[in-house]
């Protein structure tokens, strides 16, 4: 894809564009040809506004006010609501993607390349995106859609090419194939099915959250209001929701990146921890994986060995007495790399040099090998390929089987339905009542998620707010 978009130069071969061989040497040239691309990892300046970011990507940006108006028009026409004057750092992941899409649409592309666009969207948002894409296709724009979610390919695409390890392994008509047969072509082997665990009885409560409220951080943050839930030993608890409804705030409050009052609002095995920082909570057995890999779960400019020190220095005794034992850190990094099949040039490779999926495996592995009592994970498989996603899901289930209380915060509903025991939905900083995953329908969850769009009045929220559950 990067070759098509002019970011990389191919060594050999040719590319025909409208029957004419072309070789774009940079993205500008590709854009002039009419090729637009929405990356899986966004290229946005966080400190600039939406309009400024879009202006930077245009050949001849119009005057600011005109541009803002155009952004509003295009975003509304395609059902991608966007405020041109908001600063990007305050946007959720889903909203940032809209910026990228609108930026491409403003250039009237003839070919739109989408790289894993739905990994951050709700079912409703996905439907809307598909509508947008179908409309674009009807208007004569070709769409090249990259995804590992095969039902999406089936729902959207007219033809599919399957790639594995940099080679084309097959072409097929997605309307004829089943998702399973395509998945097998993709992985090149029989697909491993997740072993779903049976029903379990009540277990001791490992993590108890009771009346957790956190004020909004900044004008665009989401305040958490009266969040209550309990996760028992061996249980996987899912939290679904549209991007930007308080997931980040909740995961940070649980992990200890932000303290919360009263300290009893969060308890680990009965012990109040609201006043403790992340490392003190880790000492009590709570490990976490934040949503952002680079710069949050790992320091990009540091080696994988050094990155073990972030969260494992005390639990795995890598720095006794405050002195770093480089050898122990390397050994632990090597163990993570080996056990979780991370592709990296050894333990001295910089975290930033790993691909998104490999870094995710590394980060998840680093936390899981610490055998936590309570495990909080946000977006465990965002941007990870199908094989690795299955491996991470399996690891989460094994962890739970060994008695860990697992909380999965994700925008990927399929994932939550597949691995969780109970499920709750977060909307505008409030958490719905938790329900057993087995007895819940996608439509119901969709409705709860969509509370954002004004369907539910305050009466319903009252019920949600005071719910206290016992596993």
């Amino acid at each position: 894809m990067k070759s098509i978009y002019g970011l990389l130069q191919p060594d050999s071969g040719e590319m025909l564009w409208n029957g004419r061989p072309v070789r774009p040497t940079n993205p500008q040239e590709a854009r002039r040809l009419g090729i637009g691309m929405v990356f899986q990892h966004f290229s946005l300046f966080e400190a600039l506004t939406v309009a400024e970011n879009i202006a930077l990507g245009l050949e001849n940006p119009p005057e600011r006010r005109v541009l803002a108006k155009k952004i509003r028009e295009v975003s509304e026409a395609y059902g991608l609501p966007l405020d041109p004057h908001r600063e990007v750092h305050s946007l959720s992941v889903g909203e940032r993607q809209r910026v990228e899409i609108v930026r491409c649409l403003l250039q009237d592309p003839k070919l739109l390349i989408m790289d894993e666009p739905t990994s951050v969207l709700t079912p409703q948002e996905v439907d809307r995106l598909f509508e947008t894409l179908r409309r674009l296709a009807a208007e004569g724009c070709s769409i090249l859609y990259i995804s590992h979610k095969l039902h999406e390919i089936k729902a959207l695409c007219g033809a599919a090419t399957i790639m594995r390890g940099g080679k084309v392994v097959g072409t097929c008509d997605p309307a004829v194939e089943t998702a399973r047969s395509m998945a097998q072509m993709m992985i090149g082997a029989e697909l491993r099915t997740l072993s779903r665990r049976g029903e379990r009885g009540a277990a001791e409560a490992k993590l108890t959250v009771e009346g957790l409220s956190v004020p909004a951080d900044g004008p665009f943050g989401t305040a958490l209001r009266e969040i209550s839930f309990t996760v028992g030993a061996g249980e996987i608890f899912g939290i679904a929701g549209i991007a930007g409804n308080g997931q980040t705030e909740l995961s940070q409050a649980l992990a200890g990146e932000h303290r919360s009052r009263p300290s009893t609002a969060i308890r680990i095995s009965g012990q109040p921890v609201g006043h403790l920082n992340a490392e003190r909570r880790r000492g009590l057995g709570l490990c976490s994986v934040p949503e952002e890999r680079n710069g949050h779960a790992a320091v990009a400019e540091m080696s994988l060995a050094a990155n073990t020190l972030l969260s494992a220095r005390n639990r795995m005794k890598l720095a006794p007495g405050g002195l770093i034992r480089a050898g122990l850190a390397r050994d632990y990094a090597a163990k993570v790399i080996h056990d979780f099949g991370v592709k990296a040039r050894g333990t001295e490779a910089l975290a930033g040099s790993l691909s998104g999926g490999n870094l995710q495996k590394y980060v998840v592995g680093r936390e899981m090998l610490q055998t936590p009592e309570v495990f909080i994970v946000s977006q465990p498989t965002w941007g990870v390929d199908a094989g690795a996603a299955t491996a991470i899901h399996q690891a989460l289930m094994t962890l739970a089987q060994n008695g860990t209380a697992v909380v999965v915060i994700s925008q990927d509903l399929d994932e939550l339905l597949q691995i969780t025991d109970r499920l709750a939905v977060i909307n505008l900083g409030r958490l719905s009542e938790a329900r057993p995953t087995a007895g819940i329908s996608v439509a119901e969850i969709g409705l709860l998620m969509g509370g954002l769009h004004g369907a539910e009045p305050a009466a319903a929220e009252d019920e949600k707010g005071h719910a206290v559950h016992v596993a």
Partner: protein, 351 residues
């Protein structure tokens, strides 16, 4: 390549110096010789280099630790002055007394003086989020005026013919000389030891790791349970204490009393030293020697070639300028885009 830029910068500075001297109507080769080579042709020259480099290394080591955590202490000059005042207070209080403990007490007082003065920006930064760049810089001028009040007023030498200076410190309050016939004092090896200790702190301890993580990825620091406020306090207090210690060594070493012109801008030059040394303690030792040479060479060239005093400042300024420029140009490429009305670079974030 990043390690090469200081050398490129030094080479460019020397080349520009050549042109500068030519423009001033001096013999450029001879002036450069007086500036850069003559000062270190003798053993005595090397000891002088050490004497000048010691305060620079001491201060720059502290500053570099803060810079790694994105804490920008620009006011080491003021902390140095306050440290010298505190040490001077001890020396004057026990003027004429004997006792091995006077000198250590001065060092402690000097370090505490600089530390306390750096605590002001640290408090304002962590409590009210006031830029430490501004507060620490402005406090520098306050410190210089406090020193003036003291040496023009209550602390003035009663037998000093009304010159603005304190009494010369007595023997128990003066750093011992290491080599007879030179000014090489005990502060020089201490500065080197501090740099090595800082190397260990930054490379091998969790505290150093914490400082680097806070500087490189604040969100990851929160995830790891590191507190940005604690690191801000730690690095400001540490750099303040080291600057105060440097002030103590100046007052108790080569100067031997308090005078209004206690420092030729060591606190500011140390910022250049920290960057020239790539914020690495061992690099800082080398960079400290280079900058010390520019001080001594500047004086030498004033005497022998009639170079104006400002030339030293110009030299140091050019060095920092070339260093920063080389740093940028090593990482980015300039491309002339003739014929294109509006180059629009593709935005790339490195986050």
């Amino acid at each position: 390549m990043v390690w090469l830029t200081p050398l490129i910068a030094i080479a460019l500075t020397v080349a520009s110096g050549y042109l500068l001297f030519l423009a001033l109507g001096l013999d450029p080769a001879e002036t450069l010789y007086q500036f850069l080579i003559a000062p270190i042709e003798s053993f005595y020259g090397w000891t002088e280099l050490g004497v000048k480099a010691a305060p620079l290394i001491l201060i720059a080591t502290g500053l570099a630790i803060g810079f790694r955590a994105n804490v920008w202490n620009i006011g080491a000059e003021g902390q140095l002055t306050m440290g010298a005042i505190a040490a001077g207070a001890v020396a004057l209080a026990f003027w004429g007394h004997e006792g091995w403990w006077i000198l250590p007490a001065m060092c402690v007082a000097g370090a505490l003086g600089g530390l306390a003065y750096a605590a002001i920006p640290a408090f304002l930064k962590t409590r009210f989020d006031v830029s430490e760049i501004l507060t620490s810089l402005m406090l520098t001028y306050v410190a210089a005026l406090v020193l003036s009040i003291l040496v023009f007023g209550p602390w003035k030498d009663p037998d000093g013919y009304n010159f603005p200076q304190t009494r010369m410190f007595t023997d128990a309050a003066v750093l011992p000389i290491l080599v007879e016939g030179t000014r090489l004092h005990l502060g020089v090896p201490i500065a080197l030891l501090v740099a090595v200790a800082a190397w260990f702190l930054m490379g091998r301890t969790v505290i150093g790791f914490q400082i680097r993580v806070v500087g490189q990825a604040p969100a990851a620091a929160r995830f790891a349970g590191f507190s940005r406020k604690r690191v801000t306090w730690f690095s400001l207090l540490l750099s303040g204490a080291l600057a105060g210690l440097a002030g103590t060594f100046e007052a108790a070493g080569p100067i031997g009393q308090l005078i209004p012109q206690l420092t030729p801008g060591y606190g500011f030059t140390a910022i250049i030293v920290a960057f020239l040394g790539r914020l690495h303690p061992i690099g800082i030792i080398a960079a400290g020697l280079v900058m010390a040479l520019s001080y001594i060479g500047g004086e030498n060239a004033q005497v022998s070639a009639g170079l104006p005093q400002a030339a030293t400042g110009v030299f140091q300024g050019m060095l920092l300028f070339y260093l920063l420029a080389a740093d940028v140009l090593v990482r980015y490429r300039l491309r002339l885009t003739a014929g294109q009305p509006k180059p629009s670079p593709k935005p790339v974030t490195v986050s």
